[in-house]
Subunit: 221 residues, 2 copies
Amino acid sequence: MGGSAAVPHEADGHLRVTYNDIHVTIGACAARIKAEFDPDIMVFFPARVLRTFLKRVSGADGKRRNIPIQAIGLSLYEEVGAFDGSSGLAQEEKLGKEVVRTQWLDFSTLGNRPLIGRRILIVDEVDDSRTTLGYAVAELKKDIQAQFDKLPEDKKADFPETKLAIFVVHNKLKEKRATIPDDVAYFAGDDIEDKWVDYPWEQEDILLHDAVAQKQKELGL
Amino acid sequence: MGGSAAVPHEADGHLRVTYNDIHVTIGACAARIKAEFDPDIMVFFPARVLRTFLKRVSGADGKRRNIPIQAIGLSLYEEVGAFDGSSGLAQEEKLGKEVVRTQWLDFSTLGNRPLIGRRILIVDEVDDSRTTLGYAVAELKKDIQAQFDKLPEDKKADFPETKLAIFVVHNKLKEKRATIPDDVAYFAGDDIEDKWVDYPWEQEDILLHDAVAQKQKELGL
């Protein structure tokens, strides 16, 4: 019924929203939220572009279904928004640890050996210094090993090899501060020069951003 | 240097990417990922539009910093991508439970009473039947109450009231199957008719999508 396979047509009664429509809508409402609520913490249901392209047939009905997503949060130390101390929650000392976990996999919903035998794709917008990606790979490998070690000996052969891969929209061509192991597949949407990247979700004025981007394309910059 | 406060200019050396650029890049690479890796699980670092608009001054340096984000995953039962049974991980029976948690808050990184006294914003793209939003509010309230109950009696008065709010990009004007309590602030970017919404991140051909959206706007549809 009106699924995405149908040819789009302007009279099909769908409301069609563009990324910029959504950005403008969020920006307008954010001013009210800031004034009236000013949140300390955001809890969100992740949006997902890549998942759209990676649906797979599962189950007996031949339907394409979404693959499970887990969000993780990792920040380089200086990027973390510190809680203020007014409620007695002092910012923990994180000196000497470059990467800070703000969220990790939720094993309470994933079950007790959910990573074993899986193909796990790590997704990020940009591979800059590679520090957080390197951390994510190393920590996931620890979790996978720990789950594998807990398996009874006679079950270990039942699972195919667990595999990790990385997808980043942009890989900056520059010296990296971490190495991705050879057994981890690496996909980059584009390799780009090491210059300042303005992402659309960081913009306050998305229409201006797009206009300048268009001009840059015309000028070949 | 060259932060977002500067007036954008096409010769500033920034790489400026639009939402559609990113969508096209992801789509092109996804075909390779699907062919060469075909993931079972995706682990991602959340992107964030709203956060851009909600930065706040914190710390003594007067800098605007991001507020913490935690991702949660909730699905109505029929939307969940089931693992196949080939690795002995049978899909749990979820009958009678409409909402399925796929990920919840990570209290191992948030600390032991991180919700108390906070203003917590729940963010989603659309409020359709309100079922998952109602579930999220009810479950968060349970967690907040449990954390509050654990506080020593003499500390309970030290915290301001914990507050919840909701932000959705779109609220569909229709009969809802859950109620949001009166003490939860509700922000909708737009109230929309109850029609099929085509979101950009669900599109395989984003340029066609935008062209049809543009035509609809011109025709006032």
